[in-house]
């Protein structure tokens, strides 16, 4: 047979094959798949069914002290339990910890563990496991990212099977968020040196005491979790007499592409998702009856930080002027489809520490020009503000490849030119930016984003000792340092509130940074999920162990 004919036949087969796929059914689940039937009655919570969630990328591992990605967290936050949890008001409440007390000098914390807690393999969870978890982080061979959690711990010991004693270097109100790390099973890591933890089997097959047991992880496909029938908190979270959790299995489908995620959500292949801003509008209009929408603001922000040691930026009025001159709303409208709010200050409104009297500066070019003039600048022949022969030229350094950051840089450049500031935008490889410009402080303006912890303490961002850390802007305010230190040492929330109020006011006035946006997210949950959606401030729809699935 001639070559060309062979080719033709081969190609038609290939074509036919691909067409077949297009014609076939798109989403019918396989007959053979293990599927426990969903409970029949919608009104009453019942055990059964499968809750399907999305995981955007393959996780690095499921070890609560080693994982550096959010995806590992998705799993170990359900397979392992923490000492504490947080209420909707961001106050700590006991989980594995039944009660706790502080010594009079607040430097020693004694935690009493709930008795009778068992790991999924049946062994007891004792104080030894708690100590093991945190001591592993404190170990010199530890290579994970959680060292900050143990920074204030001098020593941690198991007094008896259910009592843990934490000796702090100084009193620290944020200790609850530091001790939030889900507890590992000491037995599961028996015989493994800390430096070899990432190779231990228990790192990929987590052994915990949480509401769900780890079943399997198929790379690129899914992670499956199964209900822990002996969860220690099952009765505490019971609903109408049925013990928690309710879905028999939880499955995370690994779907890296946003278009595919969206399709999966709309097809009913997954139950919960946080869609892109552009999709939410459409869904709210067309799919009101299929989904519940939960709107929330991110506990975090994107901000432009100033290197306050540099000329021009060491003048407060200049920084304030830059804040007035930046049209943040245009950033939100143009780059984020309007799905964000301008943060009032460093502490988000959902926190108990937020001071409502703090407001973000409005977009006011006239005010900005006034401040620049007040700082002693005059416009030169090129239209650039100048003082003592020095034109107001600033270098903006950010990482390349991110259209949001690019957009912010360009909008800032344009906005600030209107008040006579010449912004030189340099976008580059992340590593180069960090090593060449940010770490050594050779920059004027930079952009960062952070997701915060639930404790209002932001020492890592603003304290003068954190220059090697996240305080790259080298902000050095003795007043703020003092407030941060006070705030963290005071354990009584009522006494902490005014301290953080003061903190916000000083920061607002000093303007070491411009808070540009706090994302607004919308979690969409399939109507198949019942049980009342708890909207956790800053994180959205959570609390899967309060939900049950039902077809009705």
């Amino acid at each position: 047979m001639q070559r060309s004919r062979k080719v033709l036949i081969f190609m038609s087969l290939l074509l036919a094959g691909s067409l077949l796929t297009a014609c076939g059914p798109k989403t019918a689940p396989p007959a053979g798949e293990n599927k426990t039937p969903a409970p029949a009655a919608a009104k009453k919570p019942a055990v059964g069914g499968e809750l399907i969630l999305i995981m955007e990328k393959d996780p690095d591992n499921f070890n609560s002290i080693l994982s550096t990605t959010a995806y590992g967290d998705y799993v170990y936050s359900y397979t392992n339990s923490s000492l504490f949890e947080y209420t909707d008001k961001w106050e700590p409440k006991g989980h594995l910890a039944e009660s706790w007390s502080f010594s009079p000098d607040n430097k020693t914390m004694t935690i009493k563990l709930r008795p009778g807690v068992k790991f999924h393999d049946g062994s007891d969870l004792t104080a030894d496991d708690v100590v093991f978890t945190f001591k592993s982080i404190m170990d010199k061979d530890y290579t994970g990212p959680r060292r900050n959690n143990v920074k204030y711990i001098q020593e941690i010991t198991a007094v008896d099977k259910t009592t843990v004693r934490v000796d702090l270097k100084e009193p620290n109100a944020a200790i609850f968020s530091h001790l939030i790390t889900p507890i590992l099973s000491k037995k599961a890591f028996e015989g493994v040196a800390v430096k070899d933890f990432d190779k231990a089997p228990a790192t990929m097959k987590p052994m915990g005491s949480g509401p769900y047991k780890f079943v399997e992880y198929v790379r690129g496909q899914y992670v499956t979790l199964e209900r822990n029938d002996n969860w220690f908190a099952k009765d505490l979270n019971a609903k109408e007499g049925v013990a928690a959790p309710f879905p028999k299995t939880v499955r995370y489908k690994i779907i890296p592409e946003s278009a595919t995620q969206q399709a999966a959500l709309e097809n009913g292949e997954v139950d919960v998702h946080t869609p892109e801003a552009s999709a939410v509008g459409r869904m709210e209009k067309d799919m009101k009856d299929k989904f519940t929408f939960v709107n929330y603001e991110r506990n975090g922000f994107g901000y432009i930080s100033f290197n306050v040691e540099r000329p021009h930026l060491n003048i407060k009025e200049v920084r304030q002027a830059l804040d007035f001159a930046l049209d943040k709303q245009s950033v939100i409208d143009g780059l984020m489809d309007g799905r964000a709010v301008i943060p009032a200050g460093p502490i988000p409104p959902v926190s108990w520490a937020y001071d409502p009297s703090i407001k973000a500066r409005a977009y006011d070019v006239a005010k900005a020009k006034e401040l620049i003039a007040k700082a002693g600048y005059k416009l030169n022949a090129q239209g650039i503000a100048e003082k003592d022969g020095q034109p107001l030229k600033l270098g903006f350094y950010a990482s390349s490849g991110n259209s949001l950051i690019e957009g912010i840089a360009l909008i800032a450049k344009k906005n600030w030119l209107a008040i006579g500031v010449d912004l030189d935008v340099q976008l580059m490889d992340f590593n180069a930016m960090m090593e060449n410009y940010l770490k050594p402080g050779k920059f004027d303006v930079s952009f960062s984003g952070f997701t915060l912890s639930l404790d209002p303490d932001q020492s890592s961002l603003w304290h003068s000792t954190q220059v090697a850390g996240f305080n790259r802007g080298r902000y050095n305010s003795p007043k703020v340092d003092q407030l941060l230190e006070q705030g963290v040492r005071e354990l009584d929330q009522n006494k902490r509130k005014p301290i953080y109020s003061e903190f916000q006011k000083v920061l607002q006035d000093d303007t070491p940074a411009i808070f540009v946006y706090a994302n607004k997210y919308t979690d969409t949950i399939s109507k198949k999920v019942k049980g009342g959606i708890r909207n956790f401030p800053g994180t959205g729809a959570t609390d899967i162990y309060g939900w049950w699935v039902s077809e009705q």
């Binding site: 796929t21 396989p30 053979g32 590593n431 960090m434 952070f450 090697a468």
Partner: protein, 327 residues
């Protein structure tokens, strides 16, 4: 022949060492390191100063030649190291990504050759016909069109308009695996995802190949021996397919050896646009994340295959063309 082979293989080794040394040194010159990538996560609870210790522990502060010697020493023992970023052995990462790249590149190779050869031949035989002009025109267009642009065109006009039938990217539909669906479903599902990247890649390579085949055929058709065959009174068809073809095909087929490394190396651009988890993409990501072990391993693999490819081409040339002599 055996002596020639051994000599060539021996020559490959210093070349590979040279290439890897240059690449290693230059990559290390780039500021930063894999420990910085942890900072990219925007997590305020991480302690950045701990990264300094991490770097030390990973041996990244040692002088370059020490690090290189360590790497080469390990490679010789078969240990390609550990990915800093993914915290698992490099070999695992590569063996996972390799089949994905191969799926695309092998099919591209087969399709391009089986289309380019007949079209090139017909184009040459019917020189100056409308067929020839069309083919040449399309070939020129194909060579000038950036592949990422063609990819985006296809994504927009085909995938986005198809309402989900043709996926815009990715490699597999969620949940379709061998156990529950059987291999036919998996195959068809994979083909669906391969459709667009394949089209772009085939289009790109077809054009060059077709022109090459055409010009090779044109040359052969003007050679003396072709005229002799015609003069001998043989039918035109026989002249073309039996005599000219055999000679014209030679350069094309032999040249395919040069494709060996691209088979395995994959295309960074295609894999990035279509989110295809192949070698090209993991290599590019590794270079960006300063994941040195992964990028060096991929470089070594690609380097070896490139050189082996050259070797194969040279050997085939020797075998088919008795005029060429090697010592």
């Amino acid at each position: 022949m055996a002596r020639y082979l051994t000599k060539r293989l021996m020559n490959m080794i210093p070349l590979l060492i040279l290439a890897t040394m240059i690449a290693f040194a230059i990559m290390q010159l780039a500021p930063g390191g894999p420990e910085n990538m942890i900072l990219a996560g925007e997590d305020a609870s991480i302690d950045p100063s701990a990264l300094v210790a991490l770097r030390e522990q990973w041996g990244l502060n040692d002088p370059i030649h020490v690090q290189y010697a360590r790497w080469i020493g390990n490679v010789v023992k078969g240990d390609f190291g550990y990915s800093y970023f993914q915290r698992r052995p490099v070999v695992d990462i590569i063996t996972e990504a390799l089949p994905n790249t191969l799926q695309l590149s092998i099919v591209v190779l087969l399709l391009s050759y089986s289309i380019a050869i007949p079209i090139g031949i017909i184009s040459a035989v019917k020189q100056y016909s409308w067929f020839d002009y069309t083919v040449t025109g399309v070939a020129f267009l194909g060579q000038a069109a950036p592949n990422y642009w063609v990819a985006l065109l296809l994504i927009y006009y085909v995938a986005m308009k198809s309402g989900g039938t043709i996926p815009t990217n990715g490699i597999t539909t969620q949940g379709i695996n061998l156990e529950t669906y059987g291999w036919i479903s998996v195959l068809l599902d994979r083909l669906k995802y391969m459709l667009l990247p394949l089209s772009v890649m085939v289009f790109g390579s077809l054009t060059g190949l077709t022109r090459y085949m055409r010009s090779s055929m044109l040359e052969v058709l003007k050679e003396d021996y072709t005229r002799t065959a015609r003069a001998k009174g043989l039918a035109e068809k026989v002249v073309i397919y039996k005599h000219a073809l055999r000679n014209a095909i030679l350069p094309i087929v032999t040249v395919s050896g040069y494709q060996l490394s691209t088979l395995v190396g994959g295309s960074v651009i295609i894999e990035t646009i279509f989110s295809w988890p192949g070698i090209g993409r993991i290599s590019f990501d590794a270079v960006n994340a300063r994941d040195y072990m992964v990028s060096m391993a991929v470089l070594l693999m690609a380097g070896v295959l490139t050189l082996v490819g050259f070797l194969i081409v040279d050997i085939v040339y020797v075998m088919v063309d008795p005029r060429i002599k090697y010592d």
